[in-house]
Subunit: 141 residues, 2 copies
């Protein structure tokens, strides 16, 4: 209870706004998505449709799995496939970035949580790093 | 202070022992390492030498960067390169899995922490998930 109250005072620091979040589009080719993930270095990023609606998440293994169909590395299929063909559409999301109990619970199993409005607008993400920073500060004070 | 005391009581749950941690060897080919990372789905894993000494960490971007040298996907170089050629040897490690203050501080920037003895033996890892589970329990009690 004390932790929630303290964290509530710092709530404005949790949300990383959509403008600062790397994403890919549902209709991007897997070749393009592969290059984006490789150069950015993030292990998993949100996928959007029509530029601003949340659609799911994409990780590198979802793409490399397509390259290893015959147990040798073949990249030729990537041009014909899109992010929509492999993305994860079943991910947990939150629509209230201030519901810390739910957020702390979900961050046990997820590296980050997409914040999505009722109308499916992609608002931003909440990361384990932001939560750990706050909990660290709390533990020292 | 209260948090550290509480967490200390649960300390036996933090360390994931080396036997349960997926790793690659310094001399594995990048083709082999690519397949291991793709099939396991972990974004980053420890690298060991002589089977049991900690050597560094390997992530998929370290491998895919080699495939994108000419801005198109070329996998032919992977057979001739080893994990040692691309791994990250500068990672934070801890040798005391019960120094919670240091662990909480380092888990702000790292997804997991390798636990390594003075003699460089790879003992296991401490993950953000394990820390989040404990902090979640603390917040509810
Ligand atoms: N370019 C960078 N600069 C500084 N530190 C970096 C970094 N890339 C990774 N890290 C560190 O590594 C952690 C794991 O990153 P990962 O990409 O696996 O996992 C990330 C990634 O999947 C996603 N993510 C974070 N920031 C993002 C962004 N701006 N755009 C898209 N996805 C993001 O959220 C996950 C958790 O992020 P979190 O910050 O908690 O945790 C990050 C952060 O502590
Ligand atoms: N097979 C699986 N089963 C259940 N949940 C899974 C999973 N793979 C990933 N996750 C979930 O996704 C988080 C991020 O995984 P990631 O592979 O990016 O990042 C992982 C990975 O780089 C490494 N890691 C965790 N367990 C490992 C293991 N057994 N062997 C090697 N590396 C491991 O530590 C990082 C943080 O792990 P953490 O558990 O905190 O956080 C994990 C966990 O909550």
């Amino acid at each position: 209870k004390q932790i929630s109250t303290f964290l509530m005072q710092n709530k404005r620091h949790f949300l990383i706004p959509a403008s600062q979040v790397a994403t890919v589009q549902v209709d991007n080719s897997l070749t393009h998505a592969f290059m984006v993930l490789s150069k950015l270095g993030y292990s998993r990023i949100p996928v959007v449709r029509d530029d601003a609606k949340f659609a799911g998440e994409l990780s590198m293994p979802m793409i490399t799995e397509q390259m290893l169909k015959l147990d040798e590395i073949d990249t030729s299929c990537l041009d014909q496939m899109t992010v929509a063909d492999v993305m994860d559409e079943t991910v947990n999301t939150v629509n209230n970035p201030y519901d810390l109990e739910e957020i702390m619970h979900l961050l046990v199993d997820d590296n980050f949580l997409p914040v999505v409005s009722e109308a499916q607008d992609f608002v931003g993400i909440i990361t384990r790093r932001e939560m750990m920073k706050s909990l660290n500060f709390l533990a020292h004070n």
